[in-house]
Symmetry: C2
Amino acid sequence: MMMAGLRERKKEQTRRRIAEVALRLFDERGYDAVTVNEIAEAAGVAKVTLFTYFPTKECLVTDGVADDLAAIVAGRGEGRSPLAALREHYRSMATRGVGEADVEALQAKVRVIASTPALMGALHAVRMGERYDLAAALAEGGEDDLTAQLMAAQITAVITTLQEAFFRRVAAGEPLEEVGRRQSRDVELAFDLLEHGLSSREGERS
Amino acid sequence: MMMAGLRERKKEQTRRRIAEVALRLFDERGYDAVTVNEIAEAAGVAKVTLFTYFPTKECLVTDGVADDLAAIVAGRGEGRSPLAALREHYRSMATRGVGEADVEALQAKVRVIASTPALMGALHAVRMGERYDLAAALAEGGEDDLTAQLMAAQITAVITTLQEAFFRRVAAGEPLEEVGRRQSRDVELAFDLLEHGLSSREGERS
DNA sequence: CGTACCGAGTATATTTTTGAACCCGGTATG
DNA sequence: CATACCGGGTTCAAAAATATACTCGGTACG
């Protein structure tokens, strides 16, 4: 039953509370207008504690936005291709959908990031890191370096696009199950394209 | 503004939560049927933590029931009699009244204590301690030992009686302001009796 | 009778959180 | 130009909370 122990439960709880409070304040007053002192106070923790959970102010928003693609690839089952593992992962994500409760937080996060240049930059940096790690994982799997980097670039580009489509739908207020359905379709389309290459669509255009 | 600092605020909060949870569980299921482990778990703390706040299970209920009479006497203003200081204290207590929110907790506490022999005993012990300390404070103020003990005995007996009357009224569901009014009157009557002696009432009886 | 368990309470080591002082870069101000 | 403040971030010691394992008295049970 994952009886996680008091210590770990409290840590998760604290971390969560800090992030939620920060997001709410950022959304209300703007990222730059809120100091970390205020966040700590509002969350009921000391500033030092805040910084043990989130090394920088930016991390309050960007932490957890990265899907660990490298881990998914590295941890795929025997005899499974990296792409198959990733497809499976995003397929199940789409199927599971988002919880009602998370939507509001998600929208707020998108708003805050989009309205804060520093966070846009940080997000970009996160994605670069994601791509770099994915390339390493692919190289580990036997691909040569340049191939690995090209594959990683394609894959992360596609996944980022999927996420953006998702965010737009959520932001537009589409009903959640509708979002889920579309997202499921998009995932298959995206991975088909990755697998079979752009030429596979060429024919349909004529 | 009593900007108490995060540490102290959290301690008070934790102590309060433990006591509240304990009282609720005791009231629901009976003192003996609830283990300290359950209380700790329900309050979200470790058993050890509970015991750093409350040295025994009984203290979960009895802590804070003692008015520190000795301190009131010791801390009275210059040239003021112990009795005057005590009267003033209880007068202002009665005037201030109880908060709406506390009533429920108070009633529960009375229920739990009354229905638990061990707690009745503990309560008695607390009162003995109170009396003992009061006697010491009076002796410190210049009274000889026996006189101090006799005075302390009278005073604590009277105050206990006042409290019991108060509890009965609250338990009976009298409106709070009514309780406050009566209590104010009772306080004056009680201290008049203490000050002027029983004979002061003899005349009225004939 | 023994023994095995349960709940109150204790001892000790480790982790988490706090407090307080500080550094450093930026910006306002005299 | 100097100086003083402010906000992000770090350092280190001290306090609080947790995990774990224990003692001790009582009691159910074979």
